[in-house]
Assembly symmetry: C2
């Protein structure tokens, strides 16, 4: 895949060195490689991640979700600027569930995060469209590693609160922030069942002006709802905060809550237990994807597949029996 001019899509050792020292071009190249589904690029990604071992795992991984209009971009921008002011570096990844289905819209749009996208201490990566759920999970996890190797201490994974992507994101982040709009009862319905249970911190955004009163009602509702839910991490009771992008209030409190979450769960052991669980989960899910890829790309099965299809069409065997024989053939094909 090397072009005539010597350009290679695969980062070399020098580029990995550049990546580690914060070079944005090298970072972009590495992330593009991770996002590719081409088999040769997958192999190169595997090799690259192996070279980055030992440089990863040291960031705080934060999932943020909320229905469209909840003000996620503005909040991430405010939070990001706060982190940068304190001397940190922050990266934003977007997981777009609609792209998991139909190759739909792209979140994490740089144009929605004006100041952050221009800040050298921040890196915003929009979601590539048209990938499968398994592909999205893989890409996001691997991108987190690459960003960690590039020295980002805070990584935000953003998604919209429509139910599909939230569980996935909560399985690859240290804590999960749910953003809601003011207003009680009905307004909580926009959030899919099950998403509230994933939240470590719930933010009622746009708690300003005329909405201040409704924000208080929403806060009470959420506290009530959380009372019925088992906390996800020992040593941490989900907290509820009110914020306003308009007057900037609550952003600092949100960051403080995030830091407190980290301290308390590190003390209780929940932080590392969660990472360990996520790691085991990742290895298992990735191994499954690899198995399927090997199966899908095994050309030696084509003849078997064809004759099994004919046997089913002729009414000799059922499709399920045919599938059993095909999978057995794949598993045993090199055996005597």
């Amino acid at each position: 895949m090397r072009r005539q001019d010597g350009f290679s899509p695969v980062p070399g050792m020098a580029e990995l060195e550049a990546l580690r020292s914060g070079d944005r071009k090298a970072l972009a190249k590495a992330l593009t490689l991770v996002e590719s589904t081409r088999p040769d690029h997958r192999r190169e990604t595997e090799r690259m991640l192996e070279l980055l071992v030992g440089q990863t795992g040291r960031s705080l991984r934060i999932g943020i979700t909320g229905i469209p209009g909840a003000g996620k971009s503005t909040m991430i921008e405010a939070l990001g600027n706060h982190v940068i002011e304190m001397g940190g570096r922050l990266a934003v990844l977007a997981v777009d569930p609609s792209s998991m289905i139909s190759g739909g819209a792209i979140l994490g749009d740089k144009t929605r995060m004006h100041t952050l996208s221009k800040n050298p201490s921040a890196y915003i990566r929009p979601s590539p469209a048209g990938t499968s759920p398994g592909g999205v999970a893989r890409r996001t996890r691997e991108s987190i590693l690459v960003l960690e190797a590039a020295g980002y201490e805070v990584i935000i994974v953003e998604t919209v609160g429509v139910g599909q992507a939230e569980a996935m994101v909560s399985r690859m982040t240290d804590l999960f922030v749910l953003m809601l709009l003011p207003g009680g009862g009905d307004d909580l319905q926009g959030i899919k069942r099950g998403v509230m249970e994933l939240a470590d911190i719930v933010v009622i955004n746009k708690a300003d002006g005329d909405l201040r009163q409704r924000a208080n009602l929403a806060e009470a509702d959420v506290r009530h709802a959380l009372g019925f839910i088992q906390p996800r991490h020992s040593g941490w009771e989900p907290s509820v905060l009110k914020t306003s992008a308009l007057d900037g209030s609550g952003v600092r409190e949100l960051w403080d809550a995030i830091v407190r979450f980290r301290e308390q769960t590190e003390q209780s052991g929940a932080f590392s237990a969660n990472r360990k669980r996520q790691l085991d989960d990742w290895i298992r899910m990735e191994a499954r994807e690899m198995l399927l890829e090997k199966f899908d790309s095994d050309d030696s099965l084509q003849t078997t597949h064809r004759s099994l299809g004919e046997a089913v069409a002729a009414g000799t065997i059922s499709p399920v029996t045919a599938a059993r024989r095909l999978s057995d053939r794949f598993l045993n094909k090199d055996k005597p």
Copy 2:
């Protein structure tokens, strides 16, 4: 799994005979078995489907989709009664995409199809909740076979037009009916991108009373949209119909269009080519599911998985390399 009283969840030969002769109790039992995800039930399902080979494949498989409120249930009821009047037997299966995500609501509700659910020539099977996308596809395909063995000549697979389940249903049915409401332009937006391309017949429902004029506009819009889309089956140009559940108009025309679809695609060879393609697809998808099940239930991998997890946590190897070794171990474990 045999209970003290001799009850077995697995249909015996006598029950399969009863199933074939139209016994509804035997049919319900067979469908319950198909819906089970328990490993021993899966094995029994495989055995049962093998016994039904040769009795299947003779129905017309119709997918029907539309946004909630488009009038799917009423239309299926009217269509079903029409089929039964002509001496046919009809079954309805529901695919509920929300259950694929969160174990949500159940469609194909018998209470929504009053007359049909009481008719001995009809069988309505609601969607079991809480299954994975792969599980839903598997269950639906296998249920179609069981219903065919039970003698149903028309099988309707119903789903809601929100994008996830439609492509799946179109891959297991002979033709696909999309139901829309009157009103042009914006109203078509409720249907996810890509769903229109799956439609062999588009129905503008509720084309009555005040909505008659808007239905004509919608019809023109749909015809325009279809003009840009490549027909899915050679020998068939997607047709557009207006119907009304209120005065019952258009139901007969819809059925006639369905019959015409079958005749024309059988003549062009598209009907059997589509079945063949679907069959090959099914075998491949089912073999993939079987591979994953075998991997997930392989207890001998636990030690390897654990030590690989430790190596990743220690920073010795990357998670992707760990996954590669785990999948290799699974594939090669019986080899020298």
